[in-house]
């Protein structure tokens, strides 16, 4: 097999990213009769269960900046974020008409209510609000979460017309463990040599995993990492930053590029957290649903959509990320009207101040077009980091 270059791989990923008709997922479905596709929104769903049912999990992260929202705005007031309106647009315009089911994870009240709207607007499509525990004791939150996953499994079995065995789930866990390892390898590589794997490229490569079968995506990740390691790129005089607050509505690609152009090496972020929500491998022996539950409760990432029961731990995930990646500052980038991110931000800022970590904050929408103010703000931030660290 001819090895692909970085630009070839990235070009393919960009084409997948820009394809709002989800052609790759459509083709997967059409390739064999009886195949089913289950869409999901941010932040996290256990994709292993969908995979175990022989179905394709399809990440739907809104419409981005290339989708003209015509119908979606008629469903939302001006003071509600953009992802639900562009998601509705994808629905009513027929772009996701091949999707057999939709999962709406527990993130915030807007996505929660969108689950009910989907039921009303698309009554023939399976639609489920996927509740997750906000308490993390095994015998309480763990039992509840296991129950919720078993309910989802039962629904998937009905749709698949077959039993999903523990071995099916174990196999899917193995496949996703491999995928997470590769995603984490890419993040580590990026944080160590950000000039070799720019955030805008890494974003596209990981985002491809939302529409491709996981096995194919893992191959793609391997190809990209190998190609990016092999290709020598010039080191720039950039500052390493962590970007946080983008866990739901995704930034336009231009925003990530603008941060890089303004002198930032984005060495960590919370884009598409589903790809690395579970930290480390999920065990493949024993009860697989229990194992997924344990991983969620005790080995998962932190985000504003999650309750932190221990006050001392509040914000420490972010502080550790900064330290582990060698970042010099944090950029809080929240979607306009995003309750979780914007309510969380002042607490996180206080914690960063205590840890002497510099930060800036701005808001965006998935269709933000004007990048000049963000470039100026980020550029000034980088300058100030250099100035103060040199002092």
């Amino acid at each position: 097999m001819t090895e692909k270059t970085v630009s070839e791989i990235v070009a393919r990923c960009e084409a997948l990213y820009e394809d709002l008709n989800f052609t790759a997922a459509r083709e997967w479905k059409e390739a064999e009769p009886g195949r089913k596709v289950i869409g999901y929104l941010p932040v996290y769903v256990p994709r292993e269960l969908i995979h175990a049912a022989g179905m394709l999990p399809l990440g739907i992260m809104g419409g981005g900046d290339n989708l003209e929202v015509i119908h979606g705005d008629a469903y939302y007031q001006s003071y509600i974020c953009r992802i639900p309106r562009s998601t509705i647009e994808l629905g009513v315009s027929g772009r996701v008409d091949f999707v057999d089911g939709m999962l709406f994870p527990s993130i915030c009240d807007v996505i929660r209510n969108l689950s009910g709207m989907w039921k009303m607007l698309f009554p023939d499509v399976y639609s489920k609000y996927f509740d997750v525990p906000q308490t993390y004791k095994d015998e309480i939150g763990g039992v509840f979460y296991t129950g919720e996953m078993r309910e989802l499994l039962s629904d998937l079995e009905k749709m698949a017309g077959r039993k999903i065995t523990d071995d099916d789930i174990r196999h899917s866990i193995k496949v996703y463990n491999e995928n997470r390892r590769l995603v984490n390898e890419l993040y580590t590589f990026r944080s160590e040599k950000p000039w070799q794997a720019p955030a805008s490229e890494a974003y596209l490569v990981i985002r491809a995993g939302l529409v491709l079968p996981v096995e194919e995506h893992s191959k793609l990740l391997r190809q990209y990492i190998d190609a990016a390691m092999a290709e020598e790129r010039p080191i720039k005089d950039n500052s390493k930053v962590v970007v946080t607050g983008m866990f739901c509505e995704q930034p336009p690609l231009n925003l990530i590029k603008s941060l890089e152009l303004s002198g930032c090496y984005v060495v960590d972020d919370d884009f598409m957290l589903v790809s690395r929500w579970l930290i480390g491998d999920v065990p493949t022996d024993g009860d697989p649903v229990h194992n997924l539950s344990q991983a969620f409760l005790h080995h998962s990432m932190s985000t504003a959509a999650k309750y932190e029961p221990d006050e001392k731990e509040k914000g420490q995930f972010l502080v550790r990320t900064v330290k582990n990646t060698g970042a010099e500052g944090v950029i809080f980038a929240a979607t306009s009207f995003c309750d979780p991110a914007l309510l969380d931000r002042p607490m996180l800022q206080n914690i960063l101040s205590d840890a002497n970590i510099p930060y800036i904050a701005f808001k965006y929408a998935e269709n933000s077009g004007q990048m000049q103010p963000i470039r100026e703000q980020a550029g000034t931030f980088v300058d100030s980091i250099k100035l103060w660290s040199a002092a």
Binding site: S115, Q134, E139, V143, G147, E151
Partner: protein, 435 residues
């Protein structure tokens, strides 16, 4: 003929006897709160939806509700300054104004409606029911108060049903987290019979509350189930559910409503008895509190009475049959939390509003969409269309905010309401509804 209305000055707002009694109860409660330290009482802060007042009383704790404090600040026109204070300290202009009013009030000395400083809570009982913001709100308060925080998660009733998994999850949280921590904080041992006693009292008051709310089915309605309804729900959604005071209040209110029904009278407004009932409305969404009286006036001046509202169900959907059940004390608390209006799925909310329009023979649905409340607001435009389609009655949409005066545009709201009443007239006269 419409009775002549005596125009009263703002200070002379007329209230019926039950409203005066309710005000006294609330004032007494605030006095108890602000005297808690000298009286040796401990304080639990918690939220209205998912308010476990009966349980809190089992530990001799005094119930403090930050949402109600924000409402009081709104009614007293103090919330605007509090919100600005919170925004100056880094809180976004985009987020819930209850939260910012509460934080701003704290920054400015935490002075309650009785002019005295509200106590620091001894415990934050984070009943995460029907509103994501609650979760962050109490993380923010925990950062300030450094007191124990108890978390109780109420799963969302997304599929229109309560599953055994949901009940078991909640009961386990109550048994293994909530009750032991309340024992620890209060130093009082949990007595389930005491809880049963309070729950029995709750059910009695709930019977009368339902009778009162359903009196809106009469023509004319003896109550305004939105603006007047705010007064009616105060005690039972707040610190009085499970008390003799609540039983007495709702019995008293019921008698008052009965009297008005016997005489064929409408509700009492701040400007006196309501005149002719020209329009019967169902309202979805919370009210605006910073211009509460002005807002209400836009309705009663036009002869519009709200006969049913969803806001009066945020602290419990008793009219759908739920009663606290002393025989199943923990399960009943779980079911109570699960059933509150904002924990119900969008299709369930549509069903409720459609039922209200039909059962209360309303002329239509008015949605007051609140800028800073996504739990209510996200999806309301679909609700409006669907209810309109199902009932054939006109619906309208206005936008205000809970306690942020910057988002109450009186002229816009009045214009929209006047247009809406014209739509209702057109519909009645068979001319159809203008697009």
């Amino acid at each position: 003929m419409r009775p002549s209305v005596v125009k009263a000055k703002p200070a002379d707002a007329l209230k019926d006897a039950s409203m005066i009694k309710q005000k006294e109860m609330m004032a007494n409660h605030y006095n108890r709160l602000t005297s808690s330290q000298e009286n040796g009482e401990k304080v639990a802060s918690t939220f209205v939806p998912g308010n476990l007042n009966e349980l809190i009383m089992c530990f001799d704790l005094v119930n403090n509700l930050p949402e109600v404090n924000a409402i009081q600040s709104g009614l007293r026109k103090q919330s605007g300054a509090y919100i600005m204070e919170a925004e100056r300290s880094g809180h976004s202009e985009d987020v819930c104004t209850y939260v910012k009013s509460d934080l701003g009030m704290m920054m400015k000395g935490n002075i309650g409606p009785n002019g005295k400083e509200l106590p620091k809570p001894d415990v934050l009982l984070l009943s995460y029911t029907g509103c994501f913001t609650f979760l962050k709100w109490f993380e923010l308060l925990r950062e300030q108060y450094k007191c124990p925080t108890i978390f109780l998660q109420t799963p969302y009733m997304a599929d229109g049903k309560v599953t055994p998994n949901m009940i078991q999850y909640m009961v386990k949280q109550l048994k293994e987290d909530v009750i032991p921590t309340l024992e620890e904080v209060s130093g009082v041992k949990f007595d389930i019979d005491r809880l049963r006693e309070y729950l029995g009292k709750s059910a009695k008051a709930e019977d009368d509350l339902v009778y009162i709310l359903q009196s809106g089915k009469n023509k004319p309605s003896p109550i305004d189930a939105y603006f007047g309804g705010i007064y009616y729900i105060g005690p039972i959604f707040g610190a009085f559910r499970g008390t003799d005071d609540a039983i007495d209040y709702y019995r008293f209110l019921r008698e008052e409503v009965d009297q008005r029904m016997l005489k064929g009278l409408g509700p009492v407004t701040p400007d006196g008895p309501m005149g002719e009932e020209k329009y019967r409305l169902v309202v979805e969404g919370p009210p605006n509190y910073t211009s509460f009286r002005q807002f209400w006036k836009m309705f009663y001046e036009e002869g519009a009475t709200v006969v049913a509202s969803s806001y009066t169900k945020v602290g419990g959907t008793y009219d759908y049959g739920f009663r606290h059940d002393p025989d199943r004390p923990l399960e009943t608390l779980a079911e109570y939390c699960l059933g509150v209006y904002t924990n119900r799925s969008l299709p369930m909310r549509i069903d409720m509003l459609t039922d209200y329009i039909n059962e209360y023979e309303a002329d239509g649905l008015l949605i007051n969409s609140i800028k800073s409340c996504n739990s209510f607001s996200a999806g309301q435009l679909l609700i409006m269309r669907e209810v309109e389609k199902r009932t054939g009655k006109p619906a309208a949409f206005i936008e205000t905010d809970l306690v942020d005066p910057r988002y109450f545009s009186a002229a816009n709201v009045k214009n929209r309401l006047e247009s809406y009443f014209q739509m209702v007239e057109q519909k009645r006269s068979g001319k159809g509804v203008a697009a």
